[in-house]
């Protein structure tokens, strides 16, 4: 008994060391690659770019110039509008899909493969599909012109390249609904149907079952999936660039335009835009999580 305690201690130490080793690769990538880039990005947005002959660090004027433009706030509004609208739509469709999937219906096995298809297709391909199908020179407009419904493909109603962002939202929803459904479906499978059945036996109607039993159970899945898709939507570049309505652009496109300008000093302005996106997205996601944590504590989950 005398030397079992030191042995135990040594074993614990070994395990600890092993765990640190397991964490090391991810920690290294996060601190060196991601953290390093973040620090450099923030420093550049504050006027540190000696390689372009600019070094006025720390200098908040790039943020000042950016935030005092009316167009920045228009762009922010558009960015948030596309991100939120697409997230909410994907969430509603995803929940409906997940609820349908736990039931049995004919050809369910096939359907379960089919709905995951957009998950495997890249966004760019989705965007290309939208251009080919929904554009003014697209299949739908040509078919309508061919059928004589419109005189000219150009008369087809404008779906893409408007500030309403139908095209952008459509691509996001097309790609993200299966993702939400997959996450929530996994939660639903883990929970099982017993509590719902119990509620039904106790006389709850469908509405009550959904809002009082199912929804609280799938809430963790809802939170994590919306968090991920919202974070993507707010920073996404390709869809608003290709399908957007031009000026005012979403913030990632604004940043790209600064980076792409022949005038190199504008890159610092672009970096300030990128940092602004990160701040705004971080703030929103943090508050979202904080509200959810408070809710969880209130209902007694830890």
């Amino acid at each position: 008994m005398g030397d079992s305690a030191p042995n135990e201690l040594a074993r614990l130490r070994r395990e600890r060391r092993l765990m640190l080793l397991q964490l090391l690769p991810v920690v290294l990538v996060l601190t060196v690659l991601f953290g390093g880039a973040l620090v450099l990005g923030v420093m550049q947005s504050l006027g540190f770019a000696p390689w372009f002959g600019v070094n006025t660090f720390p200098d908040f004027s790039y943020f000042g110039v950016l935030w005092s433009q009316a167009s920045f706030w228009q762009s922010l509004w558009l960015t948030l509008y596309y991100a939120v609208a697409a997230t909410i739509l994907s969430l509603i469709l995803g929940i409906l899909l997940a609820l349908a999937l736990v039931r049995t219906f004919p050809s369910k096995t096939l359907y379960k493969y089919l709905y995951k298809l957009p998950l495997m297709i890249p966004y760019t391909v989705g965007i290309a599909l939208a251009v080919i199908m929904l554009g003014n020179g697209g299949m739908l407009s040509r078919l309508m012109a061919f059928a004589g419904l419109i005189d000219d493909p150009a008369q087809f109603p404008q779906i893409l390249k408007t500030h309403m962002g139908w095209g952008i939202i459509a691509v996001y929803v097309w790609k993200q609904t299966p993702f939400v459904a997959l996450t929530i479906y996994a939660v639903l499978l883990g929970v099982g149907r017993e509590t719902e059945e119990a509620a039904a036996i106790l006389g709850a109607n469908k509405r009550q079952i959904f809002f009082l039993v199912t929804l609280p159970q799938i809430l963790p899945g809802i939170i994590s999936s919306t968090l991920i898709i919202f974070a993507f939507n707010i920073g996404a570049f390709e869809a608003p660039f290709i399908l957007g309505g031009g000026f005012p652009d979403t913030l990632p496109v604004v940043a790209w335009r600064y980076f792409n300008d022949a005038d190199y000093t504008l890159q610092l302005q672009g970096m300030a835009t990128v940092v602004s996106i990160a701040l705004i997205a971080g703030g929103i996601l943090y508050s979202y999580l904080a509200i959810y944590r408070r809710y969880e504590r209130r209902i007694g989950r830890q």
């Binding site: 390689w51 000219d152 493909p153 150009a154 031009g246 000026f247 792409n260 022949a262 005038d263 190199y264």
Partner: protein, 446 residues
Amino acid sequence: MKKTLLTLSLLGGLVTSASYAQDVEAFRDAVTSGSATWEEIQARAKEEGEINLYYWGGSDQINIWMDRFAAPGLEAEGVKLNPVRITGTKDAVDLVLAELGSGKGLGEGSVDAIWVNGENFATLKRQNALFGAFADKLPNSANIEWNADDPRALLNLRDFGVETNASEMPWSGQQYVCSVNTARVAKEDIPSTFADLKGYLEANPGKFAYVKPPHFIGNTFVQAAIYAHNPDGNGAVPFQNSIDDLGAAELARLITPGMEYLKELDGLLLGASGSGARYPEDPSALNGLFLNGEIDFSCQFGLYGVAIGLRDGTYPEGAEQFIFPEGNMIKNKNYLVIPANAPNPAAALVMANYMASVEAQASKLEVAGMPPGIDPWRLSEEDVAKLTAASPGFVGITQQELDANTAPDTNATLVDVIEATWLEYIERKSTDPIDVIVERAVANLN
């Protein structure tokens, strides 16, 4: 008991040879001073063995020409052409500057040559990123007019008003032309002045668009409108000066009528009746709108664009070019530049020489529809005949009409200011007067 041993070792296997750096710099000095013989350059190029040419890869015809004609042509010289297709020339310029910034000098970079002109060349020059004067020292330099006393040499000596100092080889000459589908628009309705265009759009709103500045195709349209509305009536003349010579106030005065016109036009462009005028991002988007019948006229660089399009079947049969705007069809050249940190400078010189040969220029003209960058009056009659035979021809216009309506490019230092003014006044719909916007743009750019 198991012992975990973790060893992280970083090996700095980078051996820098000081003698190599001296050698390659001595070679550069010999080339730029004219003391290197062509045989020496050729021998060195064979040793280097390959050349990385960075160029805009958005045209299938040019890509095909590079792979089927330029690559075998250079193979015969013992150099392997490695074409790097990029979406924007600025990417290559960025790469050169980033590598120079990280201390990679001559012989150590990754870009041997870039297809370039205008602002991108001006940037390279401003950042001291040029190999040096080579373009007038190669065998095929004889095909190009370098004599400053000849006014026709201007396009070889100045690139958007910036002196080239022979640090880039003229490769192709272009002119800004507009196309129309005569199956959709009656001949008498085709505009020849900006006033005609506005009149046409008032009758047919939304049937026109131009590429969005700061893309140079869009900038060129804006410049043509500014020339045509020059209050002094002398077109492009004052715009050959740099911003320092001209001054912000004078520039504002000269561009105001043109900007006012473009602002009025903005309300008549594609999409203006909906959520605001939609400017296509690049020439391929513009072409898509034109071919789809969404717009009636498409203006861009491409003297043989319609002829090639008709030949390949991508253009509708009624497509034609027309003279617009009268007297202000901007003409320029584009070039091949060798950056200061080219990894294979001798191979780049052999490539530049090949590109300026009559054979390469003729096949490029025939396959890709890119007009020659060499000057016909410097060539033998036989060679001129070769180029004429290779030309896809004009559709609806003649060389005489083109020559009669030529205008030069705008000085590169003014382009930045005009572009910033367009973004502010037209796109952002600023209510500030133009002189205030120009003043601000000039201050920001310095």
